[in-house]
Amino acid sequence: MNSTQPNHLQVPLGKDAHQKAEKFAAEQDSVEKGKQVYLNTLAVYAVDNYLKWLDVETALNQSDSWNWSIRNFFDVADLMLPNIGKIECRAVLPGEDALILPQEVTRERIGYVAVRLKSQLDFVEILGFVPARAIIGQSQVIEINKLQSLDVLIDTINRRKTLVNLCQWLEGIFDGGWQSPELVLAGSFRSAATITRKDSDSQTNSISRAKVINIGRQIVLLMEFTPTNSAVFDIRLRVYPAENTVHLPQDLQLTILDEWANACMQTQAETANDWIQLEFSCQHEEKFSVELKLGEITTTEEFVV
């Protein structure tokens, strides 16, 4: 075996795949649209199978690509992963070196999987993955050589699976390394008392938890979660230095992203900042993620309210 050759995982396209694609293509009014639907169906089928091999739950019936009234009007090849989100499976034809994302698939996706079709349509190769946040606001063309590995897809899926349920905090259920601030900051230079000191206007029913995060340097992420009288929850996020240091590393970036990876708020540590913070409100069941970036290293924590 030639190990220098880039190898990709192959998914066979059996008769069942083609039967589905034929059925969906037959409903279309033109050959051109029929072909688009046919290839989209094969791409979704292949990724669906691949994820089944890996024991990832999928729901074709909750996907727009499997919905007659949506695929007729839009160029969609999405696959729903329950409780995780949608991934878009784009077909790449032999000889093509980029995938072009139609307008309608640039929203509500956690990322894009590129699927190379063979000219005999008997196998596809799963080429790679791009998380949605990597392309937001950028060009809707993804070059094949810019694709990231499938490990990134696997990490994205599993990270979203382990999202932190903030409402469980109200019931006293904490997991994923979220501990009481006093405990996390016990050995810290800063005393826990100063950190968790309530502002005069702060609500008494708020819950604070902290977690140590390693992004080359150790930092502490403090989350204060406050139910209000309405269906809205107030959230305050603070980042403190850990390891007995006084200041945050310069250029440390804190970003809040919505469910579809659009950046909503951002702040950045400047020289000699003791802490940085972002405050916002969320609806019940809203999902968001917190991204911390220092130089080349990025880590993300996912939450649901």
Binding site: N7, L9, K15, H18, A26, V31, G34, L54, D122
Partner: protein, 229 residues
Amino acid sequence: MDEQLQKLIDEVCRYQEATAERQKALNKLLIIIQQLPGIKKDTHQDYLEALNKTWEWVCRSIDKFKASPNESLEDSLVKWINGYLKWRIKDLYIPDSKYTISLDREIGNDEGSKVTKLDILPDTQNESNSLDLLDRKIAEIQKCSRLAWGQRIIQFIESDENRILRRCCTRVNAECNCQLLAKRLLLAKPSHKIADIAREFNVSNQTLYSHWKKKCLPLLKEVGVKTKD
């Protein structure tokens, strides 16, 4: 190769199911084993489906794989995978054996020499499923689908089981309903003229025309959408 395979299998088995670590290791392992030259190939039309099932099984069952001490790990693994694949292909022959004829069965031809069914069949799988011929195939299936849909609509109009079409009639004449108009104006060849139908049922031209346009056509359109699936 054996060393690499053993390392990857160990890595997969080290982690619990549905964990990111196991999934990543499976990814690497599959890429290698899919390319092992010994994996069985078959010309059966359902081979690719069987192969698909086989990879799923490999991912689930790799923990149970035990290499034979008498041969290389690679040979042992290939034999283990082929053992399953062979049975999946056999399965696919059985369920609809009424319709599936074994392509490898020898049949005599006029000259008395033995050929298999496969030898005399056109290579349909490859012919219809290739990118180059996809346009033609899609044009064909769309045509068939439209024909079938057309047939369903004609049947619907003629039977009108729930009397939906017959209930949609002009106020002046119950006979002059959507079913009759659809039969005369759409199904009849050549189609009748509205003026002739108006005269026959003693309805004004204008009444009939507006009934057809405002009531019947939207109703038929609705029926058409419903019959599509």
